[in-house]
Symmetry: C2
Subunit: 205 residues, 2 copies
């Protein structure tokens, strides 16, 4: 590559490091930034440098927060007797977007994935177990809301076994998100596994 001005070159290299952004897109973005007002660039620059320091994990559920406890755990209108266990904050945001879930969360920040050397100890399973031990008698339900794929499934199964060990007479139930056809799907194009699960899970109508 030829000699671009230093800051531009470094900005382009920064973009190139981001997932899903190739050299061409990075270049296009870098040049685009040159046309933004200086104030916008300075604001973005400020947020970028303080991003990590101002972003903490909620002490209870490991959601991202600026405080000690996240806004969901702090909300007295939420049902703290139901905990949805999710792989990451993006999954939490998706569930929140629908406004249909009023319980609280536990964010694992990962999933068990032996091929990528991620063991149960690398994700927030231990904190979940001690949370359940502590809150056990007040809990009604734990929804295992990991992704419906191999790793998510394995993670859910592992957690269910460990929860059974620490359950110790508590009456909470352990559930898993339903499998089935996504809304708007066409049976013709649905994959075999989804169809199978959807058929197995059929309900009275």
């Amino acid at each position: 590559m030829s000699r671009l001005p230093k800051d531009l070159q470094h900005t382009i290299e920064f973009f190139e490091k981001l997932p899903g952004i190739g050299p061409k897109t990075a270049k296009r973005l870098g040049f685009y930034l040159l046309r933004l007002p200086q104030a916008d660039l300075e604001e973005a620059s400020k947020h970028l440098s303080t991003l990590k320091n101002s972003t903490k994990f909620c002490a209870r559920c490991f959601n991202l927060t600026e405080q000690e406890i996240c806004y969901i755990c702090e909300d007295r209108n939420r049902d703290s007797s139901t905990i949805a266990v999710v792989e990451d904050v993006l999954a939490l945001l998706s569930l929140e977007a629908g406004n249909h879930y009023s319980g609280v969360y536990h964010v694992l920040h990962g999933r068990i994935d032996p091929l990528n050397y991620i063991s149960p100890d690398d994700i927030n399973i231990a904190p979940l177990l001690s949370r359940v031990k502590k809150e056990g008698d007040n809990l009604k339900e734990i929804v295992l809301a990991t992704n419906p794929d191999t790793e998510g499934e394995a993670t859910a199964m592992y957690i269910r076994e460990r929860l059974d060990e620490v359950k110790n007479g508590s009456a909470f139930s352990i559930t898993r998100l339903a499998y089935g056809l996504p809304i708007g799907a066409d049976l013709e194009y649905a994959d075999y596994m989804t169809l199978k699960r959807s058929f197995e899970g059929r309900k009275a109508f």
Copy 2:
């Protein structure tokens, strides 16, 4: 959207403003940044805030530079009697990437585009004309290297007319990049206009 930590939210909003990046990608990028080392974020932050100040236009050809004159205009090995007129710096970089062009450039920073209210006065045509007036006797060729589309074509035609006016006896020639089939193309899938131009431009073999 729910309440993400402020810096993260603003960083995501910054990404959303960039061309070709939707809300989902912006969110994914924002979360990805949280996992980068603080040093990387601070470096990116620094380059972002000084990007515009450290990036100037070359006084001769309007390429981007940190100096008064860009590295191409400054290079005594380049043939300053040939000027390639390009729409933007990305086009210049593409031509440079091939290492086959040894002349210099003139960057228009745009193209004539009446539908988007861009007139000849909005791009660097006047500076090109005065440059040609000044260097006229030393010039051998001006290559109109605007894009081979409607606006690029109109821009090239307009510039050719204006150049003829200021030519004033200078002997330089005015050329246009060749049209034709791109290397590796399949005639079956080539569009009608490209095929037509390619046929018209056929050469002895």
